[in-house]
């Protein structure tokens, strides 16, 4: 990560607080109308990564719904999150316009046995949500376009909430301090292990 100055540090802190402490408060209004983002420069990177990671996350929720070990209440939560992921992908793609990510361009490829037990499934889900939270945290602090920052902040709020829920399922504290912002280089390296491009050469 590049070095950051005091102002950037404070913005990261605010974004982090929004993402972790305020997640529950903000998750509700996430469906409210937002100004249309007009991503500038590197903003596209946060959104493009978000779209591919959300597709991967949606695939996780799809498979988790078919896995054993989740209670009825947990399944309802998984179902809601799956619907929320669809909404996230749509919102990001609207912002990306011509750069929108098509679902068929990427496929999630999870490790063998990733859903064999609830604990393993939750571990993988936590990993994916951590990628999203870390990247959105970075984007909410540093995107140039205000509406893009707002969108990333809303997505961050929801995914931070899901991350906290998954940590709870795993028996860990919901949050262990502020989440770490992730660069696309870091987050991309992890995401690449979970996706392929079907119909495209290796």
């Amino acid at each position: 990560m590049a070095e950051i100055d005091r102002a950037q540090f404070l913005r990261l802190g605010v974004a982090g607080v929004v993402g972790t402490v305020g997640a529950g408060l903000l998750a509700g209004p996430a469906s409210a109308a937002l100004p249309v983002p007009n991503p500038q420069g590197d903003d596209v990177g946060f959104l493009s990564f978000g779209a591919v990671a959300e597709l991967t996350s949606r695939a996780w929720y799809t498979q988790a719904l078919g896995a054993k070990g989740f209670t009825a209440g947990e399944r309802r939560r998984l179902q809601q999150a799956h619907a929320a992921k669809n909404d996230h992908i749509k919102r990001i793609n609207v912002a990306l316009r011509g750069d929108a990510i098509q679902a068929g361009d990427f496929a999630a490829t999870f490790p063998d046995g990733a859903f064999a037990t609830k604990a393993r499934a939750v571990g993988l889900g936590e990993r994916i949500e951590s990628l999203l939270v870390g990247t959105y945290l970075n984007g909410a602090a540093f995107a140039h376009d205000a509406a893009t920052r707002l969108l990333l902040g809303r997505l961050l709020a929801y995914d931070a909430q899901m991350l906290a829920w998954m940590r709870g399922l795993a028996g860990a504290p919901a949050a262990s301090g502020l989440a770490n912002p992730l660069s696309l280089e870091q987050a991309g390296a992890t995401l690449d292990r979970l996706i392929t491009t079907p119909n495209f050469p290796v």
């Binding site: 590197d42 596209v44 990671a53 750069d99 361009d105 280089e185 991309g188 392929t196 495209f200």
Partner: protein, 240 residues
Amino acid sequence: MRVALLLATALVLAAPAAAQAFTVYGAASLSSAFPVIDGAPKYNFAGSNQLQLQIERGAPADLFASASPAEPAALFREGKCSRPVTFATNVLVMVTPKSNPAGLRSVYGLRNGNHRLAVGTAGVPIGAYTRQLLRRMQLTSILSTNTVSLEPNVNSIVAKVGLGSADAGFPYFTDYLAAQNRLRVFRLPTWAQPPVRYQMCVVKRPGADTASANRFMQRVLASRGRSILKRFGFGLTPRR
């Protein structure tokens, strides 16, 4: 006398026939695979955007195969081409000369600047895809912090890097395969890859050899054509 007259007539008739040989206008990245699929046509390989322009101006093309859907779609809208058909896919890679004199270890190494890059112009598909990929990776700045040579098609990118005139370049994976004795390849992140889709269409113009163009199209889409494309490193879309 009669024989000489017949011969002269035959020559006169033969000349226009040769000039009207079935002609395929193809993206430069198809220049290795297409002649293996069918050696008969006359080929004109160049940047897809240049070929589109030539076809719009009435060039004697019968079939157009582009490295992106944008060019055939434009010709289709103008009524100069049949509905385009997707027949192959590709991915972008970064290449350096085999000896990698700049000591690059990944695309992120280009952030340091002061390297020589060979990149497609913004108008040619490889250039548009490269810019899309760099935007996604938040690396557009490398186009201003390095010395960039803008190339009209993918073959000139490979040539420039292969000769050591550039420290790195961004061609398709298939172009690397065709020149791998001279190049070193660096994979680019999967998540940031733009969807590179090749499309072809039959050109509509007075005197076009539509029958041959349709036969060529079927040859590319047939099992043998697909297996040749695959051998050259292209990806394949599911059969229609």
